[in-house]
């Protein structure tokens, strides 16, 4: 009964073994998220939470329960890295870094990569500059 409805990537294609998700996240972020008390402080303070399918505390819960569909959640891409959650977390868990780690897991698999040459001239005229910057920064990782 997952709250993640979308299927952008096939999480099973990521070669994550059972129980590996938390390990991978910890390795990438340097954050031990098992100390989470599920108090919801991060979610209540998140400025984007209304748009998210999983609230930040649910993201952590999913990782702890080894539910890989968390990689398909909108949340990790909506996170604007404002650090409000990390600032207020009583357990000193840097949730912002965890979000980044989840993004990295996908990005490092080179799925959904955009090349400048693939875009048409019309698209280039419509898409704002900022979007280009974001698009390519994403690839740099």
């Amino acid at each position: 009964m997952s709250k993640v409805k979308e299927k952008i990537v096939n999480e099973y294609s990521l070669n994550l073994k059972k129980g590996d998700l938390a390990k991978e996240v910890e390795e990438l972020s340097g954050v031990n998220l098992f100390g989470c008390y599920q108090c919801g402080t991060c979610s209540a303070g998140c400025p984007y939470v209304e748009e998210m399918d999983l609230t930040p505390d649910e993201v952590i819960r999913y990782i702890i329960l080894d539910r890989k569909e968390v990689l398909n959640s909108k949340t990790i891409w909506l996170c604007s890295s404002c650090f409000t959650c990390a600032e207020r977390c009583p357990r000193d868990i840097n949730i912002t870094k965890i979000m980044e780690a989840l993004r990295q897991i996908i990005l490092r698999k080179n799925i959904d990569k955009t090349k400048l040459t693939m875009l048409t001239k019309e698209e280039k005229e419509v898409i704002p500059q900022l979007a280009f910057v974001c698009l390519f920064r994403k690839n740099v990782g």
């Binding site: 989470c36 979610s43 649910e58 009583p90 000193d92």
Partner: protein, 1072 residues
């Protein structure tokens, strides 16, 4: 316009503290100043004094630093044993933090009403010297011979002359923020902390006094003396107890997001407590600070600064869940329309009756929301909006409240590091004092001869602090046990009043606002004055205050009073205090009567001023009617057999025996099993330090067998008990033989047992399903095969309709065992199913966080009304794996977990011999089979039957630290009668009128205390008559009521007195 350019201050020639602060433009700056002088200045003065050689020396046995409830309890326990105590406090009064509270959970007892008698008792105790406004500078020497340097700051008021009249404070022009009211009000630069302060002597606040001399001019007794100097006092003692208490976290620097200090209507819980208090800034009315209007909605945020690895403290503050529940239910009970929400992470209602208290609050309509708010903001109408995620519904929500209360953390005293340095004892990384060994000696500090009590080693509630203080008293007596004892109090000789006409003094109490706000005390006084034989009738703010007691004594002398009535509260709590006052005034203590116009009148008729006033007049009149016929009574003195009996040889029993032996007192341990150790024999290790159970009990058993003062009787049970405090005779059944033993006091340490689950969670049907104890025995014996999936279910048989209570230790045990399994079998997956994670206090919370982080135990919170379901394997129900279906509260979905090991944290109940002991000792037991103490807060170790005490899990399940502290505390309590060697019985006893008695024996059967037997008549030996054992008689009056021939009279309550009381109560004329 005051001058800002006023030059730097200089001390006046006469030593009058002159301060320039008063000349600042902004009065805020005056109130911001610290209230205590800096230490450097005192040290400098000390050196100067030392040069001059001015020094006061006091020789005593024990020094106690800090006179809060813990310090007071320790002082009384030691003083009662006959040793001299010096107790000091940093503030100008005693009482500590407890007196700031309005009521105490879970009994809703008025806090000051339970603390004040102790404060007065302390100040009147012949063995206790009280030094207030003082601090420790240094300590030298070794156990048995410490030399402590104390700096007593001058109050600039002569304590012998000050009457506490408040005239000085009225004229003082300086307003200072009042730290006693948590900065919600102001006080003057000459002040007392609160109306019931002990000693009731005003203090000039050195830092804020401007030296204008107004107080000096108005003081009639000329008590102000600017010339009085601070002094150095040298105290020579054998041991030291540190009980300096705690501070409360102020979320101004850390946890700013809750707006404390920025928004007017955000206050701390201690501030709310002051608002509720009858002698607080609003006299008990809850107002919003911004506009002094009644709030329509209040919110509480829990764990502000607690359970925080960043911007706070890593430990749990242990009391906040319950005090928030208490404050919320008091507010809700006073005004049912008020909307109350408490935002929490886990509700830690872990103690005796706590869970029921929490359930009661929910029934009252207090809303509990699981979710920690992220931030709050203020609206234009000064209300506060809280933004939170309700983690049980998953919704992000906002709620606007009129007032927001922050349940802030308990933190160590700022001064701890300095004090630790001065005393040479260690402080931990948080700033609390370190125990020598957490699990075996929690009261011992890191230096021999110095002991710890109360919140200085971590947050604690009142009963745990009090138990520990008694424990510290036991330990502190050990190094000085052979010193000379001073028992009893010298009273002036008693005046014979039997031939005098009754001259009655009536003192009517306001009890703050408890009485005076609901009835007309002045009218009661006027009406009382009109009654015959009443020489004097007065009404005072607090008749129980030290100052009032002094005034009673004076009145007895001046007006020649020979009988006294206090119209106030219950004699149960305050009777003894006034009786002492009478004895000090040279009157027999039974020439005293109390009219309860608070509990019986103002509290129950708070909505009807006129009727309450009339009833109070009636009550006082009827008391006067009885008092006219009061007689002097005598008390029987009896000796105490110097040995204690300890029932139960578990850790608690053993620790109690060792503590008694350290005080030089003999004891017998009765153990029903074949060896000592109790439950710990079956356990693997103990949380929160993972010490092996055998490493705890084996050294103890060794010490006990070595000790000549301790007799151990294994395979033994108490079969019969005869006698009373000081003189017990028991028959013990040991291996079929009956042995007779004699002892003076009894400690019950019978522990607890796991309940019978009755097949719940398929318990008993599958070999992979076991209780925590069974699991530990398996772990201990290395008898567990590697499980793949482990599921632990907490609260099995707890907090439901049948057993509404929490077992207090289950969460800690389950965490510890989860860790043990994870350590031993790293490949196993461990799921812990819980309702609220109740790992309360310091150490336990950190232990829990560590297990989560490093052992990756998956916790799943399940709702109380949707418990996990266990189903057995169809093919192999007895030995096969099981499946657990659980509803995850956080994700709001059902989960199915396979388990090849299912561990149930089973609820507990009183030990198996409870029922038998209950009847033998004549003591009460609650529905769960745990023994009931005299007072849940301040007498947690005593039974109402004197001479019988309890400790450990017989009182309620406990972790090892609390059990040991309690055991040593019970030892201290049980040692008091033995140390005193002699005791006095009741004066109010039954009296048989031999000529009327027919010797029918009805009274003998009616007596619950076996105090009556039939003996031959003194003049006519052929006839049998009843005889009362005056040491055993409790004065209950059952015999007098049962006697068919009115041959038994209850002294102090005889038929004539009672009849007169009743007619005076019903008829005004009869009362004249």
């Amino acid at each position: 316009m005051p001058l800002k350019s006023y030059n730097k201050k200089m001390d006046h020639d006469l030593g009058i503290p002159l301060q320039d602060d008063y000349f600042y433009d902004d009065p805020e700056e005056i109130i911001e100043r610290k209230s205590m002088p800096k230490l450097e200045t005192t040290e400098k003065k000390l050196k100067e004094l030392a040069k001059k050689g001015e020094k006061k020396v006091i020789d005593a046995d024990v020094l106690i630093i800090g006179a809060g409830i813990s310090g007071m309890q320790a002082a009384l326990d030691i003083g009662d044993k006959g040793y001299k105590v010096v107790i000091i406090d940093k503030t100008s009064t005693i009482g500590g933090a407890m007196v700031k509270l309005d009521k105490t959970f879970p009994t809703n007892d008025c806090s000051i009403c339970t603390a004040a008698p102790k404060m007065v008792e302390l100040s009147r105790h012949p063995n206790i010297e009280l030094i207030t406004y003082a601090d420790v500078n240094s300590l030298d020497g070794k156990p048995g011979n410490f030399k402590v340097n104390i700096w007593r700051k001058s109050k600039y008021v002569d304590p012998d002359k000050c009457t506490g009249c408040d005239d000085c404070a009225e004229v003082c022009p300086v307003e200072v923020v009042n730290p006693f009211d948590e900065k919600l009000s102001t006080r003057k630069a000459i002040y007392i902390e609160f109306p019931q302060a002990v000693p009731i002597v005003y203090t000039i606040d050195y830092d804020n006094c401007i030296g204008c001399g107004s107080c000096d001019r108005v003081c009639e007794p000329e008590a102000i003396s600017f010339l009085e100097k601070s002094e150095e006092i040298e105290v020579n003692v054998g041991s030291v107890i540190v009980a300096t208490g705690f501070e409360v976290f102020e979320p101004t620097e850390m946890r700013k997001e809750y707006g404390y200090g920025k928004y007017d209507n955000v206050i701390t819980a201690l501030q709310f407590e002051r608002l509720l208090s009858s002698f607080g800034p609003t006299e008990g009315k809850v107002f919003r600070p911004s506009d002094r209007k009644k709030p329509k909605s209040i919110g509480w945020i829990q764990c502000v600064g607690s359970r925080s690895e960043q911007l706070g403290f890593p430990y749990c503050s242990r009391v906040c869940c319950m005090y928030a529940t208490k404050e919320a239910s008091i507010a809700k009970e006073a005004n049912p329309d008020i909307d109350i929400t408490i935002y929490y992470m886990d509700i830690r209602a872990y103690g005796k009756d706590f869970q029921q208290y929490y359930d009661h609050a929910k029934d009252l309509g207090v809303k509990y929301v699981r979710g920690r708010p992220s931030s709050v903001y203020e609206n234009p109408d000064k209300s506060i909006t809280v933004r939170y995620k309700d983690t049980l519904t998953g919704k992000i929500e906002e709620n606007t409240v009129d007032m927001l209360v922050l349940s802030t953390a308990i933190k160590p005293n700022k001064d701890n590091k300095r004090l630790g340095g001065a005393l040479g004892i260690d402080v931990d990384e948080n700033g609390f004092f370190k125990q020598d060994s957490l699990l075996t000696d929690p009261i011992q500090s890191s230096r021999k001869g110095i002991f710890l009590a109360g919140c200085i080693q971590g947050p604690k509630d009142i009963p745990d602090s009090v138990s520990m203080a008694s424990g510290a008293a036991a330990k502190a007596v050990a190094p000085i046990k052979d010193r000379e004892k001073h028992i009893g109090k010298e009273f002036p000789p008693e005046k014979d009043v039997s031939n005098e006409k009754p001259r009655i003094g009536v003192f009517i109490c306001h009890c703050g606002k408890n009485i005076a706000n609901y009835l007309d005390v002045e009218k009661v006084t006027e009406e009382t004055k009109k009654l015959p034989n009443v020489e004097l009738a007065e009404h005072w703010m607090f008749v129980c205050s030290e100052d009032s007691c002094k005034k009673i004594k004076e009145a007895v002398k001046e007006k020649g009073l020979n009988r006294v009535i206090v119209a106030a509260c219950s004699p149960r709590t305050h009777g003894g205090l006034f009786q002492d006052t009478l004895m000090e005034a040279g009157l027999n203590k039974y020439l005293f009567e109390m009219a309860n116009i608070r509990n019986h009148c103002s509290w129950v008729h708070s909505d009807d001023w006129d009727a309450a006033t009339k009833k109070a007049i009636d009550l006082v009149r009827s008391s006067v009617a009885k008092t006219r016929h009061l007689e002097s009574l005598t008390e029987e003195e009896f000796s105490i057999y110097p040995k204690a009996l300890i029932i139960g040889g578990g850790v608690s029993g053993m620790k109690a025996a060792l503590a008694l032996a350290d005080m030089g007192i003999k004891s017998i341990i009765l153990e029903k099993e074949s060896n000592l150790g109790g439950r710990l024999n079956h356990l693997h290790s103990m949380f929160p330090s993972d010490t092996k159970a055998e490493d705890i009990i084996n050294p103890m058993i060794k010490n006990i067998t070595k000790n000549k003062l301790i007799t151990v009787m294994t395979n033994s049970e108490l079969n019969e008990l005869d006698g009373y405090i000081g003189n017990y005779k028991g028959k013990v059944k040991q291996k079929g033989k009956i042995k007779e033993i004699e002892f003076g006091t009894i400690i019950v340490a019978t522990g607890f047992k796991e309940i019978d689950l009755d097949g719940e969670y398929q318990y008993g049907k599958n070999k992979n399903i076991m209780s925590q104890t069974e699991l530990e025995t398996k772990l201990k014996n290395n008898d567990l095969k590697e499980p793949k999936n482990v599921v632990i279910i907490n609260c099995a048989g707890a907090m439901d309709k049948k057993r509404p209570y929490c077992c207090r230790v289950g969460c800690g045990v389950s965490i510890k065992n989860a860790k043990l399994i994870a350590q031993k079998y790293p490949k196993s997956k461990v799921y812990l199913l819980y309702r609220d994670m109740r790992v309360f206090g310091k150490d336990e919370e950190e232990y829990y966080a560590d297990v989560l982080k490093n052992y990756h135990v998956t916790t799943i919170r399940y709702p109380g009304d949707n418990k996990p379901e266990v189903s057995l394997d169809r093919k192999n129900p007895k030995d096969g794996p099981v499946t657990v279906k659980v509803h995850d509260d956080i994700l709001n979905e059902d989960m199915t977990l396979p388990a090849d090991l299912l561990v149930l944290t089973v609820n507990t109940e009183g030990g198996s011999e409870t029922e038998k002991l209950k009847n033998m000792l004549k003591v009460p037991v609650d529905a769960a089979g745990f023994f009931i103490e005299t007072h849940a807060k301040i007498k947690p170790l005593d039974f109402s039957t004197s001479g019988v005490y309890m400790c450990g899990a017989a009182h309620y399940p406990k972790n090892l630290v609390d059990a040991i502290a309690q055991a040593e505390g019970a030892a201290s309590r049980a040692a008091i009668p033995i140390a005193q060697e002699k005791m006095k019985g009741e004066g109010i006893v039954s009296h048989v009128i031999e000529d009327k008695c027919r010797g029918c024996g009805t009274c003998e059967m009616a007596c619950a205390y076996s105090a009556i037997e039939l003996v031959p008549h003194s003049r006519d030996p052929a006839r049998l008559v009843a005889k009362v054992n005056r040491a055993l008689c409790k004065g209950c009056g059952s015999c007098a009521a049962a006697c068919l021939n009115s041959a038994i009279e209850q002294k102090g309550y005889n038929s004539k007195q009672i009849n007169l009381m009743i007619s005076a109560l019903l008829d005004e004329e009869a009362g004249r």
